[in-house]
Structures are given as structure tokens and as C-alpha cells.
Amino acid sequence: MNRTFVRTLIAVLTLGSVTLAFQNCAESEHVESFNSEEYNRFFDYQYATKPAFLASINIFRPAGALANLTSFKVYATVAYIADATAPIAYQVKIVNQGGAIVCPTQTGTLAAGSTLVTFDCVSMVATQSARVEFKVTAKGVTQVFEQDYEN
């Protein structure tokens, strides 16, 4: 093996190793069509304009509990897009079909990096349907999210 060949080989290997480091260039797109019915049903994307907050309201009941709105757990998530380190003040109010408060309104502040509000709700009034109102404020910006539930 002569020196010229060896030097060429080394140069090729060097160039190849640098190139391979930037390999893995296959684009991997997995973007759902914004207009398909199935997409709408799956993602349930609820923002019609650019949101300041990203939030969701979820309620759970213990396994084996009656399938009604007598007693349930609330899990509300929120993030402030512009600044993930900003504390978020919140208020969670739950009212029934007549507008009566279902269980004590929860208020507090989420520290930086914390995005979950959770508490138990034991209904104080007859509740055939409930509306959860989740009001959030960060850096002077306020937004209200709502979710309805039925028995």
C-alpha cells in the first residue's frame, strides 16, 4: 500500500466522518391535516386565534364511583407560552346548570415550572350538569377557559 493511497484514504475517511455527522437529514414530518374531521375529533384543538395560554380541564372520578357529578377530581393544566418561568395565578370555579357554585372555588398561584392544578370537588348542590371555569393570569395577561360536563 503506497503512501499516496494511504493519504487519499485518510482524507476520504476524514471527509466522510465529517459528512456522516451531519447525516440523518431525512425530513420526518407528521403533520395532521388541519381540515379533516378525524383530526378535529382527535386533537380537539380549541384555539381560534393565537393563544396566550395553553390549558386543558380534565375531571376524573374514582373507580367504582357513581357515574354522576356528585364527587370528582379536577385536573387543570396550564402553561404561559411567552414565559415558562412566570408564575400563574389561577381561579377554578365550578357552577351547576342553575349557576350555583358546586364546590368551593379554588384560587392560588402556580410557581415557575408548575403547570397542574388539582383538587377534589364534592358537590354541595344538585348537579345535573357542571361548568368548570378556569381563569389564569400571568404577567398581566388573563384568559378564561371553560368546559361543560353532564351527568
Partner: protein, 190 residues
């Protein structure tokens, strides 16, 4: 020869490190918030994103769960993960800079239900147009028309007419016909 091989190794290491530092994915929700059925938001960021364009992302799971990625239509460099059931995922996000694709991996990330054998209480299924219409009403109309029920059953034609004739509503000419239709759908649902 040893010098050339050493140089090749150093160059390779530098190139990998630069890619890792220039592009990162950040989950905006804490661990406890990452539940099935929730739109979990992520941001792709780093120095590379000053000039790069977020191309998209893919997700793989450890158990074949139905998980999908949605690129946010309004917020730059933001995408959402939603899984229909509990799972553990790996996400691959791609950004393109000067016609060169750069990929960054995120995970594994666990998507789990709260502990305690809880079952989800599902809200009643709603027409997506009604959901979006409600959001639009909240943004553009609720300040003056609160509660929304005072405008129950207003049609798209009535809303359009009001925007043209009412001085206080003239700023709402920014609304498209599609958006007005969605607002009307929401008002009809009340």
C-alpha cells in the same frame, strides 16, 4: 496518519456537540400534567432557531398507543403531542436551516393517568365549529355581549349586517366569513 485520524475524531465530536446545543425541545407541561387525552405542548428552540424553520415532528411509543403530533397553527415553533392512552414516547423534531435538516430527539416521556385508579369523565361531544365559535366569541364579542345567551340564535347574516351598520362593531371587519359562521354556530348551540 495518527494526526489525521485524531483530527477526524475531533471534528466529528464537535459537529455532534454543536447540533445538540443549537437545537433543543422543551416540554411546557410538568410531569404530572402529561396525561392521556391532553394536548401536551412542546417548543423547539435554541440558537439555530434564529434562522431555521421548524419542519415537523414524529412520535414513537413503547406500546403502540395512538399518539399524534399537531404543529400549532398560530404559535411559531410550537407543537402538541396527544396520546389516547397511557404510554411512553420518544419524539423526533426537525428544523431546516439553509436547506439542511437538523433533528433533535426528546424523551423518553411518560404519558400517564393520575394515580388511584381514576376514570376520565368525558365532556359531551361538541361540534368543532361550535368550540371554535365559542373561542372567537370570547375574543371578539364577549366584552359587549355578556352573557352570550343574549345573542342566542343570531345568524351569520345578522352578525355580518351588524358589523357593517353598528359603529362599535366596525373593527370586527377583521373577521372572515368562516369565523362569523363559527360564531353563529356557537350562538345557535346556546
Amino acid at each position: 496518519m495518527k494526526l489525521m485520524l485524531g483530527l477526524a475524531t475531533i471534528l466529528t465530536a464537535i459537529s455532534l456537540q454543536a447540533r445538540a446545543a443549537d437545537l433543543v425541545v422543551d416540554c411546557l407541561y410538568d410531569t404530572a400534567s402529561r396525561m392521556p387525552g391532553v394536548l401536551i405542548p412542546f417548543k423547539i428552540k435554541g440558537p439555530l432557531m434564529d434562522t431555521a424553520t421548524f419542519s415537523g415532528a414524529t412520535v414513537t411509543t413503547n406500546n403502540g398507543a395512538d399518539c399524534r403530533i399537531l404543529v400549532d397553527p398560530f404559535v411559531k415553533n410550537l407543537f402538541h403531542l396527544k396520546c389516547a392512552e397511557e404510554t411512553q414516547v420518544m419524539i423526533q423534531a426537525v428544523a431546516v436551516n439553509n436547506n439542511q435538516a437538523h433533528q433533535v430527539n426528546y424523551g423518553p416521556l411518560s404519558v400517564t393517568l393520575p394515580a388511584g385508579g381514576l376514570t376520565v369523565v368525558k365532556p359531551p361531544t361538541q361540534d368543532p365549529n361550535v368550540i371554535l365559535g365559542k373561542s372567537l366569541f370570547g375574543t371578539y364579542c364577549l366584552t359587549c355581549h355578556n352573557p352570550a345567551s343574549v345573542k342566542r340564535d343570531r345568524t351569520a347574516a345578522q352578525i355580518t349586517g351588524a358589523i357593517k351598520s353598528e359603529d362599535q362593531m366596525k373593527s370586527l371587519t377583521v373577521l372572515t366569513a368562516d369565523q362569523i359562521n363559527k360564531i353563529a354556530a356557537y350562538l345557535k348551540s346556546l
